[in-house]
Structures are given as structure tokens and as C-alpha cells.
């Protein structure tokens, strides 16, 4: 047992459900008690999803505990098969129901005989892995299932250069924007996109995955297992360098070139793309980030320190960008992806003073308050920590928040991503003239003026009880309530504000 207040990564079933509901026409069924199906709330609210999230619960209740859930689960699968007509149903337990150790695999086998659609059981250990790992595994499981199922596999790779993008997920951190940016990049490089999975893909697609010449894994959290499977079974090369920041963009593009050359099959393409000149042009002219870092605006970064924390992909990439592209000192970098600690340390060892691998937000908070950086780049949790310490924070990684599902175009990947990141970094610091003016005028704070009441000759007197009552009102409306009550009292010629006067004022004014 451990005392916990906050989780950077969710429980395993969330990962499975994210993969399931990213695919088109896949229904996920949770074997779970009432209330464990809040994934639907997250997806509907954060993604502002217009369709009903295709995930339902086969409810575990007292009745199930007493009698077993076989009938209920099988019935539920068959019902959803009839109602929704999905291509695939994925059954998953939650942490709670996995303890029951019911033979869900068996239920699935039973149901798949009767139902029209395919049914699989998401094979994940709910106490060993978290959301991220479970998503990685489930994606691999689905791909493997469909590839193993299709015996007449068309093994030929495409003539033209082609790629699969693996690991774009619903509820992912800026995934949709990143995906759009990657499409643009690949179009520029004249590489045809064979498949994008799982977001928006059909489960029938995986069997065409081997047709592409290589796989691109933008985030190492989800998709790497699938890429390794495809590499092992079909000899497909993959690129897992995250195309974030100008330097890694170049690296990623060079690896793409190399991957295209590894296959013996000749590339038949009308266009010849010069990769090096493309990189050069994009880095110097499309991306403004490199120039911007060298401009006078950014002189204020001199001597500033930061702390970075997030998932392995984002924390590592942002650290590298800050250190080697923007010249900002990174005092400490960390990740909550404990399972990927080795890779992470290897990546950033030359770019920061200190490395922290933890999923305890208190530890991160302690480091931040010790280092007292000028800015933090972290998750929503670090933003919260920063608020308490009055240190600005730019959010660069999941766990996501409604603010990270912006309607506007905010990619982190690609050359446009470099611009976005540069903006984010710049705006996170109090900088330049603003910094200077703040010093002169003693800060942003105008609270004093706001709370001062408008001048009136006689202010009603608040008795202790009403004062206490006023104290119970949430701070953001307290002043308004106070003003309204006094206005009411003045109008009625009441000199002493009591609790009753407050209530009467609310009634009269509302």
C-alpha cells in the first residue's frame, strides 16, 4: 500500500481503451463495476467528441460476485455486436475486476463463436503496467491478431517510398496536430503514407501494414512494440527518433532516408528529393526557431535555469531543444516513465545537470523548490506546483488537460513544431521589456485596488456571524456578495449586516 495523491500515468485499462477507441468501428467492453467507465467522460470532454465513445461496461455487481459473470459478459458482447455492428470488440477488465481472476479469455472465445465480429481479450497485467505500457501492448496485440489471421498476406512492398505512422492515439498530447505536421513532412519528402494507426484507422488495415517500406514511431511510449514486432516478422525497418526540435528533425529525416535504402527492392519514384537541402531549407527558413534563439529577444535567456519533467519522449526532446538549440541551462530533467529509464538517461546525460526518474509528484516539487528555476517545462502537475511557487510553467507533456486540446494548430513535431515550442518557451519566461517594467512598477498585482469598496459615507457594519458567513463564500464571488449585500442594506437603511440580511439580499437581488 502506498499513499498517493496524483498519477502521471493512468491505470492499464485506460491505455487499452485509448487504443480501442482510436480505431474506427471498434467497440471496447470493460468488465467493471459501476463508475469504472469514466474513460467515456475523459474522451467525450477532452476531445469534445461528437460521437458516443464506443466503450461500455459489462457491470460487475453483487450478483456477478455471487454467480460469476460469464453470462453477463457474453450477453453484453453479443448485444453490442448486434447494436453497433463493430469490426472488433475488445474486452478488458479494470484493476478492480482483474482480481476476480475470471477466465475472460474463455468468455471471449465463447462469444466470438456466436458473434459476427472479431472479439479479443486485451492481455495486460493490470498491476504490472500502466496506461502507456498497456496502450503499447494492446496496439501490438491488435496488429499481431490481424496479421496472424490473414494467411494470404500480400507481402510485396510498394514501389514508391511509403511509411506507416504508428502510435497516434486519442487523448494523446497534441497528437492530432502532430499527425497533421507529419503528413506534411512526408508529403514534402515524397513518401506515401501507407497507414496511420490506431487513430482513425480500421482494424482491417493492419494486414496491409507490411506493404510500407518502413515504420515511423513519433513517440516511443506507444508504437515501439508494434514496430519491433513488424521488424522481427517482416523485416520492416523503423525510425523511432522523435522529430521534435530542429536537430532531431534532421536526424529523423536522415534515418528515414537510410530506412528507405535498406530494402533491396528498388524505389520507383518520379521525384528525387534531396534530403540534405530540404533539411537545410526547412531549418533555416521555414522554422524560425533557430534564428529566433539568436535574436535580441532571447538575450534574456542568459543565465536562466529550467527544470523539465514529462513522459520520456517529450522530456528528452524538450531538454535537448532547450540545451542545444536555445542555450538555456537545464538544471534538472526527469520522467515518470520508469520503465524507459535507461533510454532516457542515455539520451539526455549531456544536456542537464541532474536526472530524476520518479512517479511521485512530491519529489518533483521538492526539486523545483530547491532549484528555483526561472521557468518549468512539465505536465499539468508541474504547472500546479509552479503556481504555488510563483514560477511560470509551460506544459510540454501528458497527462493532458482540456487546455492541451486546443482547437488551433499547435504541433510539437515537425518544423512548425519548432516554432510552436520556441513560442512556448519564450512566453513561459517573464522577459525583456516586461521583466524590466515589472521591476519598476512592483509587479502585476492590482488586487488591492480591486477589493477597495467604492467610496460611500456610511458603510454598514458586519456582525461577527455575518463576517464568518461571508468568509465561507468562495473567494472569487466574495467581493461581489459583499458589495451586493451592502448595497441592499444601504437601500433598506440597515446599519448592521446580519446573516439574515445577507440571505434577504441574495433573495432580493438574485
Amino acid at each position: 500500500m502506498k499513499l498517493a495523491h496524483w498519477m502521471y500515468a493512468g491505470p492499464a485499462h485506460i491505455g487499452t481503451l485509448r487504443v480501442a477507441s482510436s480505431f474506427k468501428n471498434v467497440h471496447a467492453i470493460m468488465h467493471a463495476p459501476l463508475g469504472d467507465d469514466y474513460f467515456n467522460v475523459m474522451r467525450s470532454m477532452l476531445e469534445r467528441e461528437r460521437n458516443f465513445t464506443p466503450a461500455t461496461a459489462s457491470i460487475v455487481d453483487r450478483h456477478v460476485l455471487a454467480r460469476g459473470s460469464r453470462k453477463r459478459v457474453v450477453d453484453h458482447i453479443i448485444r453490442k455486436d448486434k447494436e453497433e455492428g463493430p469490426d472488433l470488440i475488445i474486452l478488458t477488465p479494470t484493476c478492480t475486476s482483474s482480481i476476480l481472476q475470471e477466465d475472460l479469455k474463455n468468455f471471449v472465445d465463447r462469444a466470438s463463436i456466436i458473434s459476427d465480429c472479431n472479439v479479443i481479450f486485451a492481455d495486460v497485467d493490470h498491476y504490472q503496467v500502466n496506461e502507456i505500457q498497456a496502450a503499447d501492448r494492446t496496439l501490438e496485440q491488435v496488429v499481431r491478431y490481424y496479421l496472424e489471421k490473414s494467411h494470404t498476406l500480400d507481402q510485396f512492398v510498394t514501389d514508391a517510398p511509403s511509411v506507416n505512422i504508428i502510435g497516434i492515439l486519442t487523448l494523446g498530447f497534441h497528437n492530432r496536430h502532430d499527425c497533421r505536421e507529419l503528413r506534411r513532412l512526408l508529403k514534402d519528402l515524397d513518401i506515401r503514407i501507407n497507414q496511420i494507426i490506431p487513430e482513425g484507422g480500421s482494424v482491417e488495415d493492419p494486414k496491409n501494414l507490411p506493404k510500407a517500406r518502413f515504420n515511423l514511431i513519433p513517440y516511443r511510449e506507444v508504437g515501439l512494440m508494434t514496430a519491433m514486432y513488424l521488424n522481427k516478422e517482416f523485416g520492416m525497418p523503423y525510425v523511432s527518433t522523435t522529430p521534435m526540435g530542429a536537430v532531431d528533425m534532421a536526424e529523423c529525416i536522415r534515418q528515414i532516408k537510410k530506412s528507405l535504402e535498406t530494402l533491396a527492392a528498388p524505389i520507383l519514384s518520379s521525384k528525387r528529393v534531396d534530403y540534405e537541402s530540404y533539411i537545410d531549407g526547412q531549418t533555416r527558413f521555414v522554422s524560425q526557431a533557430a534564428w529566433f534563439s539568436r535574436s535580441i529577444d532571447c538575450q534574456n535567456f542568459t543565465g536562466k535555469e529550467t527544470v523539465v519533467f514529462g513522459d520520456a519522449t517529450h522530456a528528452a526532446s524538450i531538454t535537448k531543444i532547450l540545451a542545444r538549440e536555445m542555450g538555456i541551462r537545464v538544471s534538472c530533467t526527469g520522467t515518470y516513465c520508469k520503465h524507459d529509464a535507461e533510454w532516457f538517461k542515455e539520451q539526455i546525460k549531456d544536456f542537464c545537470d541532474e536526472i530524476i526518474i520518479t512517479d511521485d509528484h512530491a519529489e518533483v516539487g521538492d526539486i523545483i523548490s530547491r532549484v528555483e528555476p526561472s521557468a518549468i517545462f512539465g505536465t499539468q502537475m508541474e504547472r500546479h506546483i509552479g503556481k504555488r511557487l510563483e514560477i511560470p510553467c509551460g506544459v510540454i507533456s501528458a497527462p493532458a488537460h482540456i487546455q492541451n486540446f486546443s482547437l488551433g494548430y499547435r504541433p510539437f513535431l515537425g518544423y512548425e513544431g519548432t516554432n510552436q515550442i520556441a513560442d512556448l518557451v519564450y512566453n513561459s519566461f517573464a522577459l525583456g521589456m516586461e521583466d524590466h517594467l515589472l521591476d519598476i512598477f512592483c509587479g502585476h498585482d492590482t488586487k488591492e485596488i480591486m477589493t477597495k469598496s467604492l467610496s460611500t459615507d456610511i458603510s454598514p457594519i458586519w456582525d461577527p456571524e455575518s463576517r464568518q458567513e461571508l468568509g465561507k463564500i468562495p473567494r472569487f464571488v466574495r467581493d461581489e456578495v459583499k458589495r451586493n449585500t451592502e448595497k441592499f442594506a444601504r437601500r433598506k437603511g440597515i446599519l448592521n449586516v446580519t446573516v439574515e440580511v445577507m440571505h434577504a439580499a441574495k433573495e432580493a437581488l438574485s
Partner: protein, 467 residues
Amino acid sequence: MSTKIVETITLECETGNYHSFCPISCVSWLYQKIEDSFFLVVGTKTCGYFLQNALGVMIFAEPRYAMAELEEGDISAHLNDYEELKTLCIRIRKDRDPSVIIWIGTCTTEIIKMDLEGMAPKLEYEIGVPILVARANGLDYAFTQGEDTVLAVMAHRCPDQELPIGESKETKTKLFPFPLLKEKNLVEYANHPPLVIFGSLPSNLVSQLDTELRRQFIKVSGWLPAQRYADLPSLGDGVYVCGVNPFLSRTATTLIRRKKCELIVAPFPIGPDGTRAWIERICPVFGIEAQSLEEREERIWESLKDYLDLVRGKSVFFMGDNLIEISIARFLIRCGMIVYEIGIPYMDKRYQAAELALLQNTCIRMCMPIPRIVEKPDNSNQIRRMRELQPDLAITGMAHANPLGARGIGTKWSVEFTFAQIHGFANARDVLELVTRPLRRNENLDNLDRTTLVRKNNELYTSTPVK
């Protein structure tokens, strides 16, 4: 009432495949209410992630709330539960020094049959902090019933009433400058047996309802829960109790059976009609004739006029989530709305008897058919029914709001009614404010004259083919 009953209330029951919040969510409002408490939810990552994500509780509640996260060793019983919990509770006592620690049992503790009730008294004795155990699990309960489980165990800890009746007549000096009681500067309480009100309400609502009863010379001797754990009300034979929330049937039963209290079965003080009925039920119990309630209710209705014009004739569909559905539906029918269906996770017909009767009377009065009441609804069936009925407004859980909205149906989150202040006379306005917001918003959007951008008439269709 002498009105002839033209229709009776019938309850349907469906499959129970509905979406609702887990009952552990009660932590989010109870920790705020009971200021010296500490809530320890004994559960898995799934529970913690729910509180963090769906309710955003965690980081803000950190000082008085935590998860005891069960790990593999706990599940497989390799670790000693008692020692584990002891370590955590000692740390909590040291860091936070709460007056009470409330363990919230979850589905997982039920399934692994962790004996929380057995361990609590032992540990309480050992560390010297009261420990209560509430089984707010999703196997047995829905959403707001979590509060019910907590209050039911808390009732056991209320001190026994020593002087049941015959308390000295208390006189309080209060300046009370309103027309209602203008001539009276002194408010006296009638001599009556103690009255304890149960249900967790924000303290300003508590004081509003206290004031309402004081106007009838009734003194509320205590609330369950109180602002501080140490201030729990005295209970016992001869103490009258009355609930303010419709989901507290277990607490009511505990108060009657274990604490020998007398339950006043009343409608719930939601809406001016409900509030009046609530007071009118309490008064006669103490031999008091309720005064000037009719005018008061009338005045409130008068003040709601602008809202009433908006809602009259509009239709509403409750998908069922927080168990407050009946009371809100009754109020909305009284406002002139048409209620097609009231979904509700669970209905205790005895505890809600007075509310159901008021619903029936309201329907008769407004010449409306009694809405269909569906216990343990099935969300897919409901969506199908909604497609036919095309309600103006659906009051629904958070998972369905955007999809229904995309299909042209105005939606309001049911949780807003859980968290908003809806009790008492003055707050009826807040209920209507919530209800009319989507209606007013849609009207505003229509007035933007860009209706070609969005579908105009309420066409509901599903994206997936219906077979």
C-alpha cells in the same frame, strides 16, 4: 389533500447499463464540508485516476485526502493490511493531525474481502484518532450514495441525546429587520423536541435552512454532518430527524433503527414548492402551525417569472445519475415543463415516499401525465427513446453531453445539480439558471443568424447504423 388520484406512479427497471460516477466521488464534497476530517480511499489506481481526472479532486484536496493505493502485494495478501494501513494512518496523523480519518472502502476491498471494519477499532485505539469505515463501492452503490454510506457510519458516532425534551426555552436576541417579522425583534424558539437535519450542504445553505425554520420558531439542534467532526449532533430516542437529500435512505434507516430517532418523511427542500412542503411537514410534528409560507412561496415564484417564461412548455429527459432526479423533475413540472422520463440509479420508495406523492400531486395540479420513472436505466435504450421524443433538454452524465449536443439536443450535466446550491427558497433560481442555460445559449446562437452552420431542428441520429 382531497384531490382524486388520477394516475399512480409506476417504476420500471431496466438493465442497469448506465453510466454514472463512482460513489467514492463523495470525497470531493465531503472533505470540504467536514473541515477537520481526512479521507483515505483504499483502492486501486483505477479509483485514484477517477478522482484525479473525472473530478479533478486530487491536487486541490491534498491536505485532507489521499489514496491508499493497493499494490500487487496487497491484492495477493502477501502484505499485512493492518500494518500497511497503520503506517499510512500514523503518517497522516503526523502530517495533518485530523480529528477523524474516514476510510473509504472500494470495490477492490470488497472483492479481496479486506476487513476494514475489523481493523478500524483496533487501529483507532492504537493511534488515538477516530477511524470510520464507509463502503462507498460501485458494486452496491451509485454516485451520490457514497455520501449516504459515510453519513450512515457517522451517525453511529453521534453522541447520545441526554436531555431529550424539556430543554430550557432558549431566547436569542436577533435583529430581524424584515417585513415578515417586523414587529418582532426577539425571536423565540418554540419548546419542542430536538430536530437534527441530515445531508451534506455547504455551510451557507445550512444557515439559510436554519433561518427558514427559525422563522417558524423551530430550532435545529444539529446537522449531520457538522462542519467539524467534533460537533456531531446528539441523537437518540425522542430526537426528530429529517433529510435534505434524496439519496440518504441508508442514513435514514440507521437513524431510525440504531439511534431510535423519529424520521420526518418530507419532500426535499428543492424548489420553492419542495422547500415549502419540507417546512410544512416539519412544523406539525412539533405542533406548530406553519406561518406565511404560502405568501413566501408565491413571492419566490413571482421572482422566477422571467425564467418560467423560458421553460414553460419545454421538455426534459433525465438520463439518471445522481438520485436527485425526482425532486428536480417535480420542481420543473411545477415550472410548467414536460418531463418525458426520469431515469434514476436507485429508488427507495419509502424514504422518497413524500417526494413521490408531491410529484404525483404536482402532475395533477399542472395537468401533466406522470413521467415514466426508470430505475437502473439502460443508456442505449434511453438514447433510442430520446431519438423518438426529441426533448428540448437532456439532463445527463458527462459522457453523453457532447454526443447528445451534436445531435441537436440541449444538454445539462447532472453533476452540476450535485455541486450547485439548489436547496431552499432563494436557490430555486439557481436551478432554473442551470436548466435554462442551454436553452438561452441555443437561442443566442440561433440569433447569431448562422444557423446554416449547425443543424437547426432537433434531429437525433446515430452515427453507427442501427440494425
